[in-house]
């Protein structure tokens, strides 16, 4: 029997506002415990929360970028539950009237394109952080309490770990482009919840699902989906029924365990938040935000193919993140050789980023410096191989390519006279190769070229050298 995996996701994303959602405390990450708090986010009695206008703007922008309808009327609600990470004993969220509904995001896995439906996006506040390091209790840091979040809820449209990953990456790329969040997973700016069930292929009815919360990396997402789908299929094959429950994913162990069953069902007793008034957005406001949306990855990719004549693959890689696309565009603006720039950005730069423990966000060279290097290669002042060496040096020293070439004497030998003398000697020293070529074995040319490169420490202009080698060999054979 063939089984089908059915996945729906909830993605929590911290918005990049300066202040919290209902108070003026900063949202800055990594500060000393309980230094970014005020009576509002500490949940003191009698305080009045006031909604941050940027939260509404960012949520609207995110919704539009993900092809959602923006609600004319939405409101905040209280979601009640007891857990010490929420001093108020409720989370201010949105229940029946969220700010965005009905979006769609296109993904592609193994060359198959598919649309993933977005049910809704709502705004809410983050909870505090519990530290389990006290000997006889649990410690609470309220700094994250009230940091604005959007929660993106999908339809159960995903069918594999790869699709879940592709969707999550696409959402991250789009939101990073729109500037509503830095989507830094290592800082918890993007977290995934996965609802997963199994059914016989072709069956219309959904199976019983389990939920895994707070997966905080793409790797954890993929592994958790693979583990949980396998676990459920094994259970079903044994004739067991799947219990609807929340499971905790342990990324170190690579397995999940039951956290709480639906018997102590979540009954959040939602009710309208009396301290916050409804949000009413006029069409003009929504239109204005729509008109200010930056070019999104999909459109950018298409433009790179049309305008820069790049292969689809290149266009896809270069538009994966906003910073990569910006670097490329700055380089192309200085130097109209998109394919050359693309090749170097896709092939040479990534390993150097890794080696230097950098990313495109804090890359140590500028687009102008890359362009200066590519011009040296294009004009045959240095060879491609030397160019790679120079780039490596640029990464570690930050120096300009021209200076590195000068300092290290890396300029290419294109002077025919100088090369001719070297080649004449090499050909004379290798009569066997000349013989081989005479016998029709052209491979010997490669050997001679290698010798020339060795003698010139790789600085010989390969094209000029090859021409001279052929001429000299012909002379010897004559």
């Amino acid at each position: 029997m063939e089984y089908e995996i059915v996945i729906g996701m909830e993605i929590h994303i911290e918005l990049g506002t300066k202040t919290k959602i209902f108070c003026s405390c900063p949202t800055e990450f990594g500060q000393d415990e309980n230094t970014h708090t005020c009576p509002v986010c500490l949940g003191m009695p009698g305080v009045l929360p006031v909604l941050n206008e940027k939260v509404v703007e960012y949520a609207t922008r995110a919704g539009l970028a993900l092809n959602c309808e923006i609600a004319h009327f939405s409101k905040m609600d209280r979601k009640n539950y007891f857990y010490p990470d929420l001093p108020k004993a409720y989370q201010t969220s949105q229940f029946d009237l969220p700010i965005c509904t009905g979006g769609v995001v296109g993904i592609e896995v193994d060359r198959v394109k598919k649309d993933i439906g977005i049910t809704r996006i709502h705004i809410e506040e983050d909870a505090g952080k519990l530290l389990h390091e006290s000997a006889d209790g649990t410690l609470l840091d309220v700094n994250r309490c009230g940091v604005p979040l959007i929660e993106i809820v999908t339809e159960p449209d995903l069918r594999s770990a790869e699709e879940a990953r592709a969707f999550a990456e696409k959402v991250r790329n789009i939101l990073e482009y729109t500037g509503v969040s830095d989507c830094k997973m290592e800082q918890g700016s993007m977290r995934f919840d996965v609802n997963l069930s199994i059914r016989e292929k072709g069956c219309e009815v959904l199976g019983t699902r389990t939920e895994m919360k707070n997966l905080n990396s793409f790797r954890a997402l993929i592994r958790a989906v693979q583990y949980e789908s396998k676990r459920q299929i094994i259970e079903i094959k044994k004739g067991h029924t799947i219990i609807q429950e929340t499971r905790k994913w342990d990324d170190t162990k690579g397995s999940s365990s039951s956290l709480r069953s639906k018997e102590e069902a979540h009954d959040y007793r939602y009710f309208p938040e009396p301290d916050l008034v409804p949000i009413v957005l006029e069409p003009a406001y929504i239109e204005k935000i729509k008109s200010e949306l930056p070019e999104l990855p999909e459109a950018k990719k298409k433009r790179y193919i049309d305008e820069y004549k790049l292969p689809e693959y290149d266009a896809g890689v270069l538009t994966t993140t906003g910073v990569t696309a910006r670097f490329f565009e700055e380089a192309v603006a200085l130097y109209n050789e998109p394919k050359q720039i693309s090749n170097w950005m896709m092939v040479e730069i990534p390993p150097l980023l890794k080696e230097n423990e950098l990313s495109m966000e804090n890359i140590s060279i500028t687009p102008a410096q890359l362009v200066a290097l590519l011009k040296l290669v294009k004009n045959n002042e240095i060879s491609g191989n030397t160019g790679k060496e120079v780039l490596k040096e640029m990464f570690s020293t930050g120096k300009n390519p021209g200076d590195i070439v000068k300092e290290k004497g890396l300029a290419q030998m294109s002077d025919a006279g100088e090369l001719e003398a070297i080649i004449e000697k090499i050909v004379s020293d290798n009569p066997k190769s000349v013989e081989d070529i005479g016998a029709g074995n052209d491979k010997a040319y490669g050997f001679l070229t290698g010798q020339v490169m060795k003698a010139t420490k790789g600085k010989a202009n390969a094209q000029v050298a090859n021409e001279i080698i052929r001429a000299v060999v012909a002379k010897h054979l004559a």
């Binding site: 909604l51 941050n52 007891f82 209790g137 309208p272 949000i279």
Partner: protein
């Protein structure tokens, strides 16, 4: 009576409240009476009245995204029954 003893126990559990058997019976009676009274509203014809999503006729009260001074760590923890290492300390919770 519109409210059962089970309803009372369920709600009490959600609110982390504990009641004796007698109290549950009494509360089922009293809360039931309140709910029955509220039920009289269902007798009204509301077909031509717009749903009330919020009790206030005010909308769009926002603040600018500007940082203002926070409490110091000492001020934040001043009312905490227990604190440790700059944090509020609560009974141990399971992860």
């Amino acid at each position: 009576m519109s409210l059962t003893r089970e309803d009372v126990t369920y709600v009490a559990n959600l609110a982390r409240l504990e009641f004796s058997e007698d109290e549950v019976t009494a509360l089922a009676d009293q809360l039931g009476a309140v709910l029955d009274y509220a039920e009289t509203l269902s007798g009204l014809d509301t077909s031509k009245i717009k749903a009330t999503e919020h009790v206030l006729a005010v909308q769009n009260v926002f603040r600018e995204d500007e940082i203002k001074p926070c409490l110091t760590n000492e001020e934040a923890l001043a009312n905490a029954p227990e604190s440790e290492a700059g944090c509020f300390k609560v009974p141990r919770v399971m992860e």
